[in-house]
Symmetry: C2
Amino acid sequence: MTDQDLRVQLLLTGNEIMSGDTVDSNSAMISRRLGELAITVHRRVTVGDDVQLLQQELAAMASGSDVVIVNGGLGPTVDDLTAEILATVAGVGIEQHPEAVAHLEQWCAGRNLPLNDANMKQALLPAGAAIIDNPIGSAVGFELSVQGCRVICTPGVPGELAAMLDEILASLATQLPRPVERSILRLQTFGLGESTAQQMISDAMPHWPDEVALGFRAGAPQMEIKLTIDRAADAPARQRCREELEALFGDHIIGEGDTLLAQRVLELLRERGSTLTTAESCTGGLIASMLTRIPGSSDAFHAGFVTYANDIKHSVLGVEQSVLVDQGAVSEPVVRQMAMGALERARADYAVAVSGIAGPDGGTEDKPVGTVWLAWGDRAHIRTRCLRWPVERTLFQTMVAAGALDAIRRLLLGIEEEPRYFAQRRAR
Amino acid sequence: MTDQDLRVQLLLTGNEIMSGDTVDSNSAMISRRLGELAITVHRRVTVGDDVQLLQQELAAMASGSDVVIVNGGLGPTVDDLTAEILATVAGVGIEQHPEAVAHLEQWCAGRNLPLNDANMKQALLPAGAAIIDNPIGSAVGFELSVQGCRVICTPGVPGELAAMLDEILASLATQLPRPVERSILRLQTFGLGESTAQQMISDAMPHWPDEVALGFRAGAPQMEIKLTIDRAADAPARQRCREELEALFGDHIIGEGDTLLAQRVLELLRERGSTLTTAESCTGGLIASMLTRIPGSSDAFHAGFVTYANDIKHSVLGVEQSVLVDQGAVSEPVVRQMAMGALERARADYAVAVSGIAGPDGGTEDKPVGTVWLAWGDRAHIRTRCLRWPVERTLFQTMVAAGALDAIRRLLLGIEEEPRYFAQRRAR
């Protein structure tokens, strides 16, 4: 990838970040958004709310950069030092900024709050600073040039920062030495590991074109594959790469952008006017929760059952007592009957059922912690499978819930071929 | 608080952190653990996998600190530069370290993996470096002194870092100018905001003792209150503060340490040999999922119902059709009947039911997005309440699920008084 010829540094401030009480997700947000303009953050420095340290860092960073983005310290308390420090480093005074006052008045009026002194502090900005609108919070952002370096000050509240980044990106775009042609295509996958995917691509596509940058972002349960190009002219090359990836990974690709498994499942159900129900033991409601997190899920998801205890599997879903006793709760006939019972009780078109051993206790030699039986299908045909995810309890629940959704996704897409992870995760 | 007189800096490396594809949670982990020794991280610098930049930063940091902790870059790939850079900065060579080789051999043998060249790279360390054991991964940590500054190199994989920090802390503790007496008491609360809590404390305890440092860590759904002392002799003063906080916030305090609401509810149920069931509409399985995330939850949680659609509330939980039609799904009689139906079907001792409007659509003037009816209790007595959390969908689900668990917690503790947030969140 060819980055813009622009030196950008990030200065993060806040005692709560230095103490580790808050995990800093803001700098990742800023870096990802800047990446859209092919701007790479060169260096990031984090310090507490300490006047001297902040002044020293800001002065050093400004003298070596084209742009410094400062995050944090815009609030109304005495710990919020950013305006004061920027003024000192720039050698200007602090003054009340009429636009910032107007913003505060409007913000307080909309909330029926009095405009107090603490709030008014947020309108005291370095002389000559330009305002950056804050569409959702009381503290405006601001920008001032220090010896030719643009210093851009942003709020620490993540939602307010997010709301300000469009304006900042648009303004930075005008300053770039070459036009922004970067385009990032993101593909969401399930069931692939990063190193496996990397190896498969190296083996299958030895002549991968240099102009299409390949990246991975491993998450649980999904993994993102990124294809970045820096010139519009490279779009056809990327399209060829995409087609090759689709041929290679096939139905392990869930969709583009931020697509979540649950979202894709709900889309597919909605397309055919069908509904899904869930019968969960070891995932304890997580599959239902992943579905209902998505706005509009009520179209296609009407009912879910968490049947954690054996007698509930019997009384609520109609699983036979004798089967529970003979085969145990983590068994093929039990998940099959859970799925059938859920289909009937929810009057749904499709069902998915899971029963497994999440741990840390409850494993046996025969069925160790991490073993799970899945069942999925419709009235005509229920499929079943035993898999093994020998990982920590909550990660196990996450991967099993995602695997259950993936099974339904594959069924709705009419994919008969088994996913790669079925073989890798086979029990025994 | 009195910090140790020790200058500690953190150097983070990794392109995935600079690009924002990975959110750095490691530095928060390191800072929080160091806080136990009263060590404050002074400054943190993050750069990508760039030899020149890393050398420059490390040299500058080492010359101005007693300790530099480097995180990342210990892996087997060409991007992993830490050993090489430390050797250059220290002016020593790189050599194969027998202890590291032994660790790799053992690690590979335990996994039936061949010891390949890529792995062996992890045994090439700066001459004279001391090894830090990695109990779970292939890359050992290592430490070397650079002009009197201890440079400690740690792995970027969070689990491996966590596993190494005990040894590092024990070693740092021996170097401290004064004995470690710091003790941190953490109290988990639900239903209090940070600024409200701060104000209440200022009003009620104007003579708060200087030797007990008060801190807050706001999270969703819980908020942590931290009481830190630096001398064992201050324990009685802290105990008095704790008692005053307990008098002030009372039953808004859930427990000590990392106690989660769901965990506390399960404990209380277990103590009396009782069981809980859930009937969820707008939270869609999240309450059940919060409960079943906790190991051993099956003792006290046997069944949960996700009844998202009206006809399911009727067919699965026995809510009367006429009530659904006349009052709507988000109404007092509906949640009451959901709770009663769940109690009966799960044969549980206690039930909690929720029905509300998570948004973004579905609100009306009468029942705007964010409105929720809660019902909780046992066969003898079901309580109900309408509350309003006008926040984004997933945060709404989180807060409502936590509110439902809190209602059960209060009931099990025999607390009749209403929590503060009932009044604040009253739906007109």
